[in-house]
Protein backbone atom coordinates (compact mmCIF):
# COMPACT_ATOMS: atom_id res chain seq x y z
CA UNK A 1 0.00 0.00 0.00
CA UNK A 2 0.99 3.62 -0.43
CA UNK A 3 1.01 6.13 2.42
CA UNK A 4 1.58 9.84 2.66
CA UNK A 5 4.33 10.12 5.21
CA UNK A 6 4.61 12.78 7.90
CA UNK A 7 7.88 12.24 9.83
CA UNK A 8 7.64 15.32 12.07
CA UNK A 9 10.57 17.28 13.50
CA UNK A 10 11.83 14.74 16.06
CA UNK A 11 12.37 12.05 13.46
CA UNK A 12 14.80 14.32 11.64
CA UNK A 13 16.86 14.91 14.78
CA UNK A 14 16.65 13.25 18.17
CA UNK A 15 14.63 10.30 16.84
CA UNK A 16 16.53 9.68 13.61
CA UNK A 17 16.73 5.96 14.38
CA UNK A 18 12.91 5.82 14.50
CA UNK A 19 12.72 7.39 11.04
CA UNK A 20 15.35 5.11 9.46
CA UNK A 21 13.99 1.90 10.99
CA UNK A 22 10.39 2.82 10.11
CA UNK A 23 11.33 3.38 6.48
CA UNK A 24 13.36 0.15 6.35
CA UNK A 25 10.64 -2.01 7.92
CA UNK A 26 7.80 -0.59 5.83
CA UNK A 27 9.84 -1.07 2.68
CA UNK A 28 10.66 -4.66 3.65
CA UNK A 29 6.93 -5.28 4.08
CA UNK A 30 6.32 -3.91 0.59
CA UNK A 31 4.71 -0.58 1.45
CA UNK A 32 5.57 2.77 -0.04
CA UNK A 33 6.00 5.96 1.99
CA UNK A 34 5.74 9.25 0.11
CA UNK A 35 6.88 12.15 2.25
CA UNK A 36 4.51 15.14 2.29
CA UNK A 37 6.27 17.99 0.55
CA UNK A 38 7.07 21.17 2.47
CA UNK A 39 5.71 19.75 5.72
CA UNK A 40 6.02 21.92 8.80
CA UNK A 41 5.86 21.44 12.58
CA UNK A 42 2.54 20.19 14.03
CA UNK A 43 2.84 22.46 17.08
CA UNK A 44 4.03 19.67 19.40
CA UNK A 45 2.83 20.23 22.96
CA UNK A 46 3.90 23.87 22.88
CA UNK A 47 1.21 25.37 20.62
CA UNK A 48 -1.65 23.99 22.72
CA UNK A 49 -0.20 25.60 25.83
CA UNK A 50 -0.25 29.01 24.13
CA UNK A 51 -3.16 29.22 21.71
CA UNK A 52 -6.12 26.97 20.84
CA UNK A 53 -6.39 28.26 17.29
CA UNK A 54 -2.66 27.94 16.56
CA UNK A 55 -2.68 24.37 17.92
CA UNK A 56 -5.21 23.43 15.23
CA UNK A 57 -3.96 25.69 12.42
CA UNK A 58 -0.47 24.14 12.34
CA UNK A 59 -1.64 20.53 11.84
CA UNK A 60 -4.43 21.75 9.52
CA UNK A 61 -1.73 23.04 7.16
CA UNK A 62 -0.24 19.55 6.98
CA UNK A 63 -3.60 17.90 6.28
CA UNK A 64 -4.30 20.50 3.59
CA UNK A 65 -0.92 19.78 1.96
CA UNK A 66 -1.72 16.06 2.00
CA UNK A 67 -5.02 16.75 0.26
CA UNK A 68 -3.34 18.46 -2.68
CA UNK A 69 -2.34 15.08 -4.14
CA UNK A 70 -4.76 13.57 -6.61
CA UNK A 71 -5.99 10.51 -4.72
CA UNK A 72 -4.92 11.30 -1.15
CA UNK A 73 -3.71 8.18 0.64
CA UNK A 74 -3.79 7.83 4.44
CA UNK A 75 -1.22 9.91 6.32
CA UNK A 76 1.22 7.71 8.21
CA UNK A 77 2.62 9.29 11.40
CA UNK A 78 5.19 7.50 13.62
CA UNK A 79 5.34 10.17 16.38
CA UNK A 80 2.43 9.93 18.82
CA UNK A 81 2.36 13.66 19.62
CA UNK A 82 2.25 14.59 15.92
CA UNK A 83 -0.34 11.87 15.36
CA UNK A 84 -2.69 13.27 18.00
CA UNK A 85 -2.30 16.86 16.79
CA UNK A 86 -3.18 15.82 13.25
CA UNK A 87 -5.94 13.45 14.38
CA UNK A 88 -7.49 16.21 16.51
CA UNK A 89 -8.04 18.37 13.43
CA UNK A 90 -9.47 15.40 11.51
CA UNK A 91 -11.96 14.78 14.36
CA UNK A 92 -12.73 18.33 15.46
CA UNK A 93 -13.68 19.73 12.05
CA UNK A 94 -16.43 17.10 11.95
CA UNK A 95 -17.87 18.20 15.29
CA UNK A 96 -17.06 21.83 16.04
CA UNK A 97 -19.31 24.16 14.02
CA UNK A 98 -17.47 26.88 12.14
CA UNK A 99 -14.01 25.44 12.85
CA UNK A 100 -13.28 24.28 9.29
CA UNK A 101 -14.20 27.74 7.93
CA UNK A 102 -11.95 29.41 10.50
CA UNK A 103 -9.02 27.14 9.66
CA UNK A 104 -9.54 27.74 5.95
CA UNK A 105 -9.48 31.49 6.52
CA UNK A 106 -6.00 31.00 8.01
CA UNK A 107 -4.84 28.53 5.36
CA UNK A 108 -6.01 30.72 2.48
CA UNK A 109 -3.16 33.11 3.36
CA UNK A 110 -0.82 30.34 2.19
CA UNK A 111 -3.02 29.39 -0.77
CA UNK A 112 -4.24 26.16 0.84
CA UNK A 113 -7.70 24.69 1.51
CA UNK A 114 -8.72 21.93 3.89
CA UNK A 115 -11.66 19.71 3.03
CA UNK A 116 -11.27 17.02 5.66
CA UNK A 117 -10.85 14.08 3.29
CA UNK A 118 -7.68 12.40 4.54
CA UNK A 119 -7.32 9.88 7.33
CA UNK A 120 -4.52 10.15 9.89
CA UNK A 121 -2.96 6.84 10.95
CA UNK A 122 -0.40 5.99 13.62
CA UNK A 123 2.51 3.75 12.61
CA UNK A 124 1.44 1.20 15.24
CA UNK A 125 -2.06 1.07 13.75
CA UNK A 126 -0.63 0.52 10.27
CA UNK A 127 1.88 -2.11 11.44
CA UNK A 128 -0.73 -3.99 13.47
CA UNK A 129 -3.69 -3.76 11.10
CA UNK A 130 -2.54 -3.02 7.53
CA UNK A 131 0.72 -4.98 7.48
CA UNK A 132 -0.18 -7.38 10.29
CA UNK A 133 1.83 -9.66 12.57
CA UNK A 134 1.36 -12.59 10.15
CA UNK A 135 3.12 -10.78 7.32
CA UNK A 136 6.00 -9.81 9.57
CA UNK A 137 6.24 -13.34 10.96
CA UNK A 138 6.61 -14.73 7.46
CA UNK A 139 9.48 -12.30 6.84
CA UNK A 140 11.40 -13.07 10.07
CA UNK A 141 15.03 -14.04 9.49
CA UNK A 142 16.23 -13.87 13.09
CA UNK A 143 14.04 -15.12 15.92
CA UNK A 144 14.58 -13.04 19.07
CA UNK A 145 13.62 -16.02 21.23
CA UNK A 146 15.65 -15.24 24.31
CA UNK A 147 14.26 -11.75 24.69
CA UNK A 148 11.42 -10.44 26.77
CA UNK A 149 10.10 -7.00 25.79
CA UNK A 150 7.88 -4.60 27.74
CA UNK A 151 5.48 -2.89 25.29
CA UNK A 152 5.12 0.79 26.16
CA UNK A 153 2.33 2.68 24.37
CA UNK A 154 2.33 5.97 26.28
CA UNK A 155 -0.72 8.22 25.98
CA UNK A 156 -1.28 10.04 22.77
CA UNK A 157 -1.54 7.18 20.27
CA UNK A 158 -4.36 5.59 22.31
CA UNK A 159 -6.03 8.54 24.06
CA UNK A 160 -8.38 10.37 23.81
CA UNK A 161 -9.29 8.77 20.46
CA UNK A 162 -9.63 5.00 20.74
CA UNK A 163 -8.95 4.40 17.05
CA UNK A 164 -7.14 1.07 16.97
CA UNK A 165 -6.65 -0.13 20.54
CA UNK A 166 -8.07 -0.12 24.05
CA UNK A 167 -7.19 3.30 25.52
CA UNK A 168 -6.39 1.89 28.98
CA UNK A 169 -5.28 -1.70 28.36
CA UNK A 170 -3.68 -1.62 24.93
CA UNK A 171 -2.49 -4.89 23.38
CA UNK A 172 -1.85 -4.06 19.70
CA UNK A 173 1.95 -4.32 20.06
CA UNK A 174 1.86 -7.85 21.48
CA UNK A 175 1.28 -9.89 18.29
CA UNK A 176 3.95 -7.80 16.53
CA UNK A 177 6.51 -8.46 19.27
CA UNK A 178 5.55 -12.13 19.44
CA UNK A 179 6.02 -12.38 15.67
CA UNK A 180 9.73 -11.72 16.26
CA UNK A 181 9.89 -14.77 18.53
CA UNK A 182 10.28 -12.65 21.68
CA UNK A 183 8.18 -12.89 24.83
CA UNK A 184 5.95 -10.16 26.27
CA UNK A 185 6.94 -8.76 29.67
CA UNK A 186 3.61 -8.62 31.52
CA UNK A 187 3.13 -5.30 33.24
CA UNK A 188 0.50 -2.68 33.96
CA UNK A 189 2.55 0.38 32.94
CA UNK A 190 2.17 0.21 29.16
CA UNK A 191 -0.38 3.03 28.98
CA UNK A 192 0.86 5.20 31.86
CA UNK A 193 2.16 8.72 31.25
CA UNK A 194 5.92 9.44 31.12
CA UNK A 195 5.39 13.13 31.88
CA UNK A 196 5.89 14.27 28.28
CA UNK A 197 7.41 17.76 27.98
CA UNK A 198 7.32 18.23 31.76
CA UNK A 199 10.76 16.66 31.77
CA UNK A 200 11.93 20.12 30.64
CA UNK A 201 9.71 22.34 32.77
CA UNK A 202 8.99 20.22 35.88
CA UNK A 203 11.69 17.53 35.77
CA UNK A 204 11.25 16.29 39.34
CA UNK A 205 7.56 15.44 38.71
CA UNK A 206 8.22 13.80 35.36
CA UNK A 207 11.12 11.73 36.68
CA UNK A 208 8.84 10.31 39.37
CA UNK A 209 6.55 8.96 36.60
CA UNK A 210 9.49 7.59 34.62
CA UNK A 211 10.87 5.91 37.76
CA UNK A 212 7.62 3.97 38.28
CA UNK A 213 7.72 2.79 34.66
CA UNK A 214 11.39 1.74 34.83
CA UNK A 215 10.77 -0.13 38.10
CA UNK A 216 7.91 -2.11 36.58
CA UNK A 217 10.09 -2.94 33.57
CA UNK A 218 12.66 -4.77 35.70
CA UNK A 219 12.97 -8.33 34.49
CA UNK A 220 12.43 -7.38 30.85
CA UNK A 221 15.35 -7.20 28.41
CA UNK A 222 14.11 -3.94 26.90
CA UNK A 223 11.20 -1.51 26.76
CA UNK A 224 9.65 -1.03 23.33
CA UNK A 225 8.19 2.38 22.40
CA UNK A 226 6.28 4.03 19.55
CA UNK A 227 6.89 7.72 20.37
CA UNK A 228 10.04 9.90 20.33
CA UNK A 229 8.99 11.81 23.45
CA UNK A 230 8.39 8.61 25.47
CA UNK A 231 11.63 7.17 24.11
CA UNK A 232 13.66 10.20 25.20
CA UNK A 233 12.05 10.38 28.65
CA UNK A 234 12.47 6.67 29.31
CA UNK A 235 16.08 6.41 28.21
CA UNK A 236 17.81 9.75 28.79
CA UNK A 237 17.33 10.07 32.54
CA UNK A 238 17.99 6.49 33.69
CA UNK A 239 21.33 7.41 35.25
CA UNK A 240 19.93 10.36 37.17
CA UNK A 241 16.87 8.43 38.39
CA UNK A 242 18.98 5.44 39.44
CA UNK A 243 21.28 7.76 41.39
CA UNK A 244 18.47 9.57 43.20
CA UNK A 245 16.73 6.33 44.23
CA UNK A 246 19.97 4.40 44.94
CA UNK A 247 18.84 1.55 42.68
CA UNK A 248 19.95 0.48 39.24
CA UNK A 249 17.10 1.09 36.82
CA UNK A 250 19.09 0.96 33.59
CA UNK A 251 17.34 -0.88 30.75
CA UNK A 252 17.64 -0.63 26.95
CA UNK A 253 14.74 1.21 25.26
CA UNK A 254 14.08 0.51 21.57
CA UNK A 255 11.56 1.67 19.03
CA UNK A 256 9.13 -1.01 17.84
CA UNK A 257 10.37 -0.50 14.28
CA UNK A 258 13.93 -1.27 15.43
CA UNK A 259 12.84 -4.52 17.10
CA UNK A 260 10.89 -5.61 14.03
CA UNK A 261 13.78 -4.54 11.79
CA UNK A 262 16.25 -6.68 13.75
CA UNK A 263 13.98 -9.70 13.43
CA UNK A 264 13.70 -9.10 9.69
CA UNK A 265 17.46 -9.57 9.51
CA UNK A 266 18.56 -5.94 9.48
CA UNK A 267 21.88 -5.34 11.22
CA UNK A 268 22.12 -3.35 14.45
CA UNK A 269 23.81 -0.54 12.53
CA UNK A 270 21.05 -0.53 9.91
CA UNK A 271 18.33 0.11 12.51
CA UNK A 272 20.84 2.47 14.13
CA UNK A 273 21.02 0.97 17.62
CA UNK A 274 24.14 3.15 17.97
CA UNK A 275 21.86 6.19 18.18
CA UNK A 276 19.82 4.93 21.16
CA UNK A 277 21.04 6.39 24.44
CA UNK A 278 20.26 3.28 26.49
CA UNK A 279 21.34 0.33 24.34
CA UNK A 280 24.33 -1.45 25.91
CA UNK A 281 27.06 -3.67 24.45
CA UNK A 282 25.63 -6.55 26.47
CA UNK A 283 22.31 -6.10 24.70
CA UNK A 284 23.97 -5.97 21.27
CA UNK A 285 25.99 -9.12 22.04
CA UNK A 286 22.82 -10.91 23.14
CA UNK A 287 21.36 -10.16 19.70
CA UNK A 288 23.95 -12.54 18.25
CA UNK A 289 22.19 -15.37 20.05
CA UNK A 290 19.09 -14.83 17.91
CA UNK A 291 18.21 -17.97 15.99
CA UNK A 292 17.66 -18.32 12.29
CA UNK A 293 14.34 -20.06 11.66
CA UNK A 294 14.37 -23.33 9.67
Amino acid sequence: MKYQYYPGCSLEGTALEYQLSTRAVMEAAGHELVEIEDWTCCGASAAESLSYLLSLALPARILALAETTEKPADILVPCSACYLNLKKVEEKIKKEPGLLEKLNEILSESGLTLKGKVRVRHLLDVMANDVGAKTFKALVKKRLERFSFAPYYGCQCIRPYAVFDDPESPRSMEPLIEATGARIHKWAMGSKCCGASHINTDPEVSMELVRAILMAARGADAIVTVCPMCQMNLEAYQGKISKIGHEDLHIPVLYLSQVIGLSLGLQAREVRLDLNLSVTDTFCKALNTAVTPD
Binding site: C9, D38, G43, E48, S51, L53, L58, E109, P167
Partner: protein, 189 residues
Protein backbone atom coordinates in the same frame (compact mmCIF):
# COMPACT_ATOMS: atom_id res chain seq x y z
CA UNK B 1 -11.86 42.74 46.93
CA UNK B 2 -11.45 45.74 49.24
CA UNK B 3 -7.81 45.17 49.96
CA UNK B 4 -6.83 44.71 46.30
CA UNK B 5 -5.06 47.52 44.52
CA UNK B 6 -6.61 48.96 41.37
CA UNK B 7 -4.18 47.02 39.18
CA UNK B 8 -4.92 43.69 40.80
CA UNK B 9 -8.66 44.23 40.35
CA UNK B 10 -8.16 44.91 36.64
CA UNK B 11 -6.02 41.80 36.41
CA UNK B 12 -8.78 39.74 37.94
CA UNK B 13 -11.46 41.04 35.56
CA UNK B 14 -9.41 40.13 32.52
CA UNK B 15 -9.07 36.62 33.91
CA UNK B 16 -12.84 36.39 34.50
CA UNK B 17 -13.66 37.13 30.86
CA UNK B 18 -11.54 34.28 29.57
CA UNK B 19 -12.65 31.99 32.37
CA UNK B 20 -16.23 31.95 31.05
CA UNK B 21 -15.12 29.72 28.17
CA UNK B 22 -13.49 27.27 30.60
CA UNK B 23 -16.59 27.32 32.83
CA UNK B 24 -18.64 26.24 29.83
CA UNK B 25 -16.33 23.26 29.24
CA UNK B 26 -16.73 21.92 32.80
CA UNK B 27 -20.26 23.17 33.42
CA UNK B 28 -21.82 19.81 34.23
CA UNK B 29 -19.01 18.54 36.50
CA UNK B 30 -20.43 16.32 39.26
CA UNK B 31 -17.46 16.73 41.59
CA UNK B 32 -17.06 12.94 41.67
CA UNK B 33 -13.24 13.07 41.73
CA UNK B 34 -12.61 10.46 39.01
CA UNK B 35 -10.23 12.99 37.40
CA UNK B 36 -8.21 13.29 40.59
CA UNK B 37 -8.04 9.53 41.03
CA UNK B 38 -6.89 9.14 37.41
CA UNK B 39 -4.30 11.92 37.27
CA UNK B 40 -0.68 10.70 37.24
CA UNK B 41 0.51 14.12 38.42
CA UNK B 42 -2.03 14.68 41.23
CA UNK B 43 0.64 13.77 43.80
CA UNK B 44 2.54 16.94 42.94
CA UNK B 45 -0.45 19.31 42.73
CA UNK B 46 -1.40 21.79 45.48
CA UNK B 47 -5.09 21.52 44.50
CA UNK B 48 -6.52 18.30 43.10
CA UNK B 49 -8.11 18.48 39.62
CA UNK B 50 -11.56 18.06 41.22
CA UNK B 51 -10.92 21.03 43.52
CA UNK B 52 -9.67 23.06 40.56
CA UNK B 53 -12.93 22.49 38.62
CA UNK B 54 -14.84 23.62 41.70
CA UNK B 55 -12.81 26.84 41.78
CA UNK B 56 -13.53 27.31 38.06
CA UNK B 57 -17.27 26.97 38.77
CA UNK B 58 -17.04 29.55 41.49
CA UNK B 59 -14.95 31.86 39.32
CA UNK B 60 -12.17 32.10 41.90
CA UNK B 61 -9.58 33.28 39.40
CA UNK B 62 -7.03 34.33 41.99
CA UNK B 63 -7.05 30.85 43.53
CA UNK B 64 -6.91 29.10 40.13
CA UNK B 65 -4.00 31.14 38.80
CA UNK B 66 -1.96 31.06 41.96
CA UNK B 67 -2.22 27.25 41.98
CA UNK B 68 0.24 25.17 39.99
CA UNK B 69 -2.35 22.45 39.33
CA UNK B 70 -3.18 23.25 35.69
CA UNK B 71 0.51 23.69 34.84
CA UNK B 72 1.16 20.11 35.93
CA UNK B 73 -1.28 18.55 33.46
CA UNK B 74 0.88 16.46 31.11
CA UNK B 75 -2.03 15.90 28.67
CA UNK B 76 -2.26 12.13 29.16
CA UNK B 77 -6.06 12.28 28.58
CA UNK B 78 -6.86 9.70 31.26
CA UNK B 79 -9.31 12.04 33.05
CA UNK B 80 -10.96 12.96 29.74
CA UNK B 81 -11.36 9.28 28.94
CA UNK B 82 -12.81 8.36 32.33
CA UNK B 83 -14.98 11.41 33.15
CA UNK B 84 -18.51 10.02 33.66
CA UNK B 85 -19.89 13.27 32.21
CA UNK B 86 -17.65 13.02 29.14
CA UNK B 87 -16.17 16.47 29.77
CA UNK B 88 -13.09 17.58 27.79
CA UNK B 89 -11.02 18.03 30.96
CA UNK B 90 -7.60 17.92 29.28
CA UNK B 91 -8.77 20.62 26.89
CA UNK B 92 -10.01 22.67 29.86
CA UNK B 93 -6.55 22.36 31.46
CA UNK B 94 -4.99 23.60 28.21
CA UNK B 95 -7.46 26.51 28.13
CA UNK B 96 -6.22 27.52 31.61
CA UNK B 97 -2.62 27.25 30.37
CA UNK B 98 -3.51 29.53 27.45
CA UNK B 99 -4.94 32.18 29.80
CA UNK B 100 -1.89 31.88 32.05
CA UNK B 101 0.46 32.22 29.07
CA UNK B 102 -1.10 35.63 28.41
CA UNK B 103 -1.09 36.72 32.04
CA UNK B 104 2.28 35.13 32.80
CA UNK B 105 2.24 34.51 36.58
CA UNK B 106 5.72 34.29 38.08
CA UNK B 107 5.73 30.57 38.94
CA UNK B 108 4.66 29.68 35.39
CA UNK B 109 7.34 31.83 33.76
CA UNK B 110 9.71 28.96 33.00
CA UNK B 111 7.05 26.91 31.20
CA UNK B 112 5.80 29.91 29.20
CA UNK B 113 9.31 30.81 28.09
CA UNK B 114 9.92 27.20 27.08
CA UNK B 115 6.76 27.05 24.94
CA UNK B 116 7.19 30.55 23.48
CA UNK B 117 10.77 29.98 22.38
CA UNK B 118 9.83 26.60 20.96
CA UNK B 119 7.14 28.26 18.84
CA UNK B 120 9.47 31.13 17.91
CA UNK B 121 11.90 28.60 16.42
CA UNK B 122 9.00 26.97 14.55
CA UNK B 123 7.81 30.35 13.31
CA UNK B 124 11.24 31.11 11.89
CA UNK B 125 12.11 27.77 10.32
CA UNK B 126 8.81 25.94 9.86
CA UNK B 127 10.25 23.06 11.88
CA UNK B 128 11.73 22.76 15.35
CA UNK B 129 15.42 23.17 15.75
CA UNK B 130 16.16 21.86 19.24
CA UNK B 131 19.54 23.52 19.65
CA UNK B 132 18.24 26.89 18.50
CA UNK B 133 15.17 26.96 20.68
CA UNK B 134 17.06 25.78 23.75
CA UNK B 135 19.57 28.61 23.12
CA UNK B 136 16.71 31.14 22.90
CA UNK B 137 15.09 29.62 26.01
CA UNK B 138 18.28 29.71 28.09
CA UNK B 139 18.99 33.30 27.02
CA UNK B 140 15.58 34.47 28.17
CA UNK B 141 15.57 32.50 31.41
CA UNK B 142 18.58 34.55 32.50
CA UNK B 143 19.50 31.82 34.95
CA UNK B 144 23.04 30.64 34.23
CA UNK B 145 22.48 27.40 36.17
CA UNK B 146 19.66 25.96 34.04
CA UNK B 147 21.79 25.21 30.93
CA UNK B 148 24.05 23.06 33.10
CA UNK B 149 21.13 20.81 34.06
CA UNK B 150 20.67 20.03 30.37
CA UNK B 151 24.36 19.99 29.40
CA UNK B 152 25.07 16.26 29.95
CA UNK B 153 22.14 15.23 27.72
CA UNK B 154 22.95 17.95 25.17
CA UNK B 155 26.52 16.71 24.85
CA UNK B 156 25.37 13.09 24.49
CA UNK B 157 22.95 14.07 21.73
CA UNK B 158 25.60 16.13 19.97
CA UNK B 159 28.10 13.26 20.05
CA UNK B 160 25.46 11.10 18.35
CA UNK B 161 24.95 13.93 15.84
CA UNK B 162 21.25 14.06 16.80
CA UNK B 163 21.40 17.78 17.38
CA UNK B 164 23.77 20.33 15.95
CA UNK B 165 24.75 23.73 17.21
CA UNK B 166 22.80 26.36 15.38
CA UNK B 167 22.83 30.02 16.19
CA UNK B 168 19.45 31.74 16.09
CA UNK B 169 18.69 32.95 12.58
CA UNK B 170 15.82 34.37 10.57
CA UNK B 171 14.80 31.12 8.84
CA UNK B 172 12.51 30.41 5.86
CA UNK B 173 9.34 31.99 7.33
CA UNK B 174 7.15 29.31 5.69
CA UNK B 175 4.68 29.52 8.59
CA UNK B 176 4.66 33.31 8.94
CA UNK B 177 1.24 33.72 7.23
CA UNK B 178 -0.30 31.12 9.61
CA UNK B 179 1.11 32.76 12.74
CA UNK B 180 0.14 36.26 11.58
CA UNK B 181 -3.43 35.30 10.74
CA UNK B 182 -3.91 33.43 14.04
CA UNK B 183 -2.71 36.49 15.95
CA UNK B 184 -5.18 38.62 14.04
CA UNK B 185 -8.11 36.24 14.68
CA UNK B 186 -7.28 35.36 18.27
CA UNK B 187 -5.98 38.52 19.95
CA UNK B 188 -3.73 37.57 22.82
CA UNK B 189 -3.91 40.75 24.87
Amino acid sequence: MDNLTHNETMHDERHSDSLVAVQKLVNSCLQCGTCTGSCPNAFAMDKTPRQLWHMVHLGYTDVIFSSRTFTLCSTCYTCTLRCPRGLPLTEAMSALKQIAARENPKFYRRSVLFYKNFMESVRRHGRVNEAEFMTLYFAELKNPLVPFQFAPLGIKLMLKKKISVRFPSRGNRLLEPVFRKVEEMEPTS
